[in-house]
């Protein structure tokens, strides 16, 4: 059979291959597990609660659209500094509403539907008011998170 040194080299090579193979498969298994354990950026499933932004980014008498699951929401800061949040889906034909600063109303560009800052229909074709959400602040000052919850 083979010379002793050849067999020994082959064994050394095999052992090395085995070690490399074992380590690489172990890493291939451990790496996804390790990444899995790290919390993802989005925090938690957007079923009932979502972070709509930072408190400091919203000036009085302005609004911002945010994502609630696969549908848009709108968070409004009234002239008095109050925070309100609604679904931005117009109840007429599902267009996205926007904030009109001059009249302080929520307006749907599609057919001129108007909602007041309580979400109630003021004029136009929408049959119902906008779905209202609950707004809370998490944290202090300008960096506080605006947390919107489906009621």
């Amino acid at each position: 059979m083979q010379e002793g040194s050849n067999a020994f080299d082959r064994r050394r090579f095999l052992d090395a291959l085995l070690t490399v193979g074992f380590v690489s498969t172990a890493v291939a298994m451990a790496y996804p597990v390790a990444r899995f354990l790290v919390p993802p950026a989005s925090g938690e499933p957007p079923i009932d609660t979502v972070v709509a932004g930072r408190a400091g980014a919203l000036r009085p008498n302005s609004a911002a659209i945010f994502k609630f699951g696969a549908a848009p929401g709108i968070v409004v800061r009234t002239a008095d500094g109050d925070l309100r949040a609604f679904s931005a889906v117009c109840t007429h034909l599902d267009c996205t509403v926007q904030f009109k600063a001059d009249t302080s109303e929520l307006w749907c560009a599609c057919h001129n539907g108007m909602y007041d800052l309580g979400g109630n229909v003021v004029s136009g074709p929408p049959p119902r008011g906008l779905q209202k959400f609950t707004v809370n602040l998490r944290g202090e000052g300008d960096d506080a998170e605006i947390v919107v919850t489906r009621t």
Partner: protein
């Protein structure tokens, strides 16, 4: 080896060392079947690991379950991989468990002195089916919801205790969020606890008694002759590990090329989708019950079917005690026939059930 010496100094591993050094595994033509049990155990380990990982993100409520699985698969890093592994491993695990069961059945390894190993094994098989049934509902999608409805409905067909059993399983009269909570508790706590105990027992028995040798091979031995032995460590262990890696490779391939879908979220008030049926491991039983006529000699067909399956399960548990010839070490053609018929029935009815309308 230094670590082992460190432990040995404190806990005296000499008993273990001798056991491992002396332990051998018989070598013969049928030894390939020895590996099935270990492969099943490997997959069970995969299930426990991936299950625990999924537990960190899954939410067991009707309003959140589907969304949490969606979150795992879309947002969590490698969540899609862990979820796919868990779903595929479940199916492979049950398949291997059945393979292991049939190999033991055919080779008569259940005969004296290994009756208790067989009993614990059969119970483990039923537990695996329970894991499959309870886990299937957890993603709360349309298919799972209706399959559970049908399955728990069948439980209700058991005579006398059926109604009670149905309410116990469903957590009420219908499949609701209460059912989800119950199945979740079963799947992550109750079944794992019982399984751990039974697996420990099963392994203890196997280690104590060593591997069984088929009757035919035993009888060919001349008096005083022994079968060649393979050292348990490292020869058999390395082969075992090889088998496990092959299983994992198959698992990875399945997860890569046939990823598991999310499905649509369950709507209890939607109509039952056409052609609803349970997962493949329940198909044979399901299709059999469908074929039983609605009334046989005045008894409701479904009751008869369920009772028949119950009797079959009891028979299976008692096989080692019923097979006299095998316990004497004699060939037992009758039980081989029973095993063959059982295998034929399961395979054919699973295939028929799959293609039936």
């Amino acid at each position: 080896m230094k670590v082992i010496d460190w432990v040995d100094e404190r806990l005296d591993l000499s008993g273990v060392r001798h056991f491992v050094a002396d332990k051998g595994v018989p070598v013969h033509a049928q030894k390939i079947w020895y590996y099935l049990g270990g492969m099943t155990l490997c997959l069970f380990g995969v299930q426990v690991l991936t299950g625990i990982l999924l537990l960190l993100y899954y939410r067991p409520s009707a309003t959140e379950a589907y969304e949490s699985v969606q979150f795992i698969v879309t947002q969590v890093q490698f969540g899609w991989l862990i979820r796919n592994l868990h779903s595929w491993s479940a199916n492979l695990l049950i398949g291997l468990a059945f393979a292991h069961f049939f190999s033991v059945f055919f080779l008569k390894s259940y005969r004296k002195p290994r009756e208790l190993t067989w009993v614990s094994g059969i119970l483990l098989l039923f537990l695996m089916l329970g894991f499959g049934f309870s886990g299937y509902l957890l993603p709360w999608n349309e298919l799972a919801f209706f399959a559970t409805k049908v399955g728990t409905g069948i439980a209700g067909a058991v005579p006398l205790v059926g109604r009670f059993a149905l309410r116990l399983l469903r957590g009420g009269d219908d499949v609701t969020g209460a059912t989800l909570s119950r199945f979740y508790g079963l799947h992550v706590a109750v079944l794992p606890a019982i399984t751990t105990a039974l697996v420990a027992l099963h392994l203890l028995f196997v280690q104590r008694q060593g591997m069984s040798v088929p009757i035919g091979v035993e009888r060919k031995l001349k008096p005083g002759e022994h079968l060649p032995q393979m050292p348990f460590f490292p020869n058999y262990v390395l082969r075992d590990v090889l088998a496990w890696y092959v299983v994992i490779a198959v698992l990875a391939a399945l997860a890569a090329f046939y990823p598991w879908e999310l499905g649509t979220k369950a709507d209890p008030f939607a109509p039952v989708p056409a052609g609803i049926r349970p997962e493949w491991y329940f198909l044979a039983m399901f299709h059999t019950l469908k074929l039983v006529p609605s009334h046989v000699l005045g008894i409701e067909g479904e009751h008869l079917g369920v009772v028949a399956f119950g009797l079959a399960a009891m028979f299976l548990v008692l096989v080692p005690f019923l097979d006299r010839r095998a316990s004497r070490g004699e060939p037992s053609r009758l039980f081989t026939l029973v095993a063959a018929l059982g295998l034929l029935y399961l395979v054919s009815f699973t295939i028929i059930g799959h293609y039936a309308k």
